[in-house]
Amino acid sequence: MRATERAGRRHGTRGAVAAVLVAAVGLLCVVLLLPLTASTTDSAREITLVIRNMAFYLEGGTEPNPTIRVRAGEEVRFTVLNRDPGFAHNFVVDAWDLETPFIETEASTTVVVRAPARPGRREYVCTPHGKMMRGVIEVVGGD
C-alpha cells in the first residue's frame, strides 16, 4: 500500500511539473509572438491627406496634389480628411482598386492598402473633381 501511495505521489509531482513546464512554454510563446502580431498592425506607414480648396495636401504641406512616394510592397494607411466646406470628396486609386466612400466636410476616412511589389506610377483622384484633384503615387524600390 505504501509503495503504491509513493508511486502515486511521484506521478502527481511529475504531472504538476509537466503542467508548469507547458504553462511556462506557452507563456514564453505568447510573450515572443505578441510583439510580432502587434508590429504587423503598426508597421503600416501613416499618410494623412487633407483636402482643402479643391486639392489634396499632405498633412502640413503646401503643395496641391503632391506626388506621394511609397515603397514597393509597403503597407500604407491613408487617412483622408475633408476640410473643404460644402464639398464631398473621395480618394480613388483605380489601379489599386482603392476607393473611399464620399467624405463630408470635416469628416475623415481611413483605408489600409499594400503597395504593389513592382515600382511604377499610378494616379490618385477625387472622382467628381478629377480635373483639379489629381496626383501621382510613385512606388519606388523596396530598399
Binding site: N53, Y57, E59, P64
Partner: protein, 147 residues
C-alpha cells in the same frame, strides 16, 4: 460704399458680377476683394479662387435696462444693420447671383464652372471660379493645413 481691390488681380467674371450687385446693397459700408492663395491652373483647368470681405454699416439703438437690477436706465447700443444670413437672403433675390452653393454662420460660398474652348481649337479647359464671402474681421477659410 467703399471698394478695396488692392489685393485682387481682377480675375474672375463672376467675382466682378458679385461686386457689381453687392455695390448696390445700401447696408454694406466696405467691400474688400482679394485673390485667394489656392488659385492655380493646369493644362485642363483654371481654378480662380477669390475672397470677399464685407463690412456692414452700423446703427444705434436705444435699449432699456436696469442698473444693478433696480434703477431703470437707457443705453445706446451700436449694431450692424445686416448679418451674413440677411445678406444671403438678399442675394437669393438678386438676378445673376441666386442662392449660394454653400452657407454657414460666417461664410457664403459660390462655385461657378464653365467649359472654355478657344476659337479654332478642339480642346478646351475647365474654368472653375470659387468665391467665398465673409464678414470683415472673420478668419479666411483658406486655412493653414493643420489637422
Amino acid at each position: 460704399m467703399e471698394l478695396d481691390t488692392t489685393n485682387w488681380s481682377g480675375e474672375g467674371a463672376f467675382t466682378q458680377a458679385l461686386l457689381d450687385v453687392l455695390g448696390t446693397v445700401e447696408q454694406i459700408a466696405l467691400l474688400r476683394v482679394e485673390d485667394a492663395t489656392s488659385s492655380r491652373s493646369d493644362v485642363e483647368f483654371n481654378f480662380i479662387s477669390n475672397e470677399l470681405f464685407v463690412q456692414f454699416g452700423n446703427r444705434e439703438r436705444r435699449v432699456r435696462a436696469k442698473m444693478l437690477g433696480i434703477i431703470p436706465v437707457t443705453r445706446t447700443v451700436t449694431e450692424p444693420v445686416m448679418t451674413v444670413t440677411d445678406l444671403e437672403r438678399a442675394m437669393c433675390e438678386m438676378d445673376g447671383v441666386g442662392p449660394p452653393d454653400y452657407a454657414d454662420d460666417g461664410m457664403l460660398q459660390y462655385l461657378r464652372t464653365e467649359r472654355i474652348v478657344p476659337p479654332y481649337q478642339t480642346r478646351g479647359y475647365k474654368l472653375v471660379e470659387l468665391v467665398r464671402i465673409y464678414e470683415a474681421g472673420s478668419e479666411s477659410r483658406e486655412a493653414p493645413n493643420d489637422v
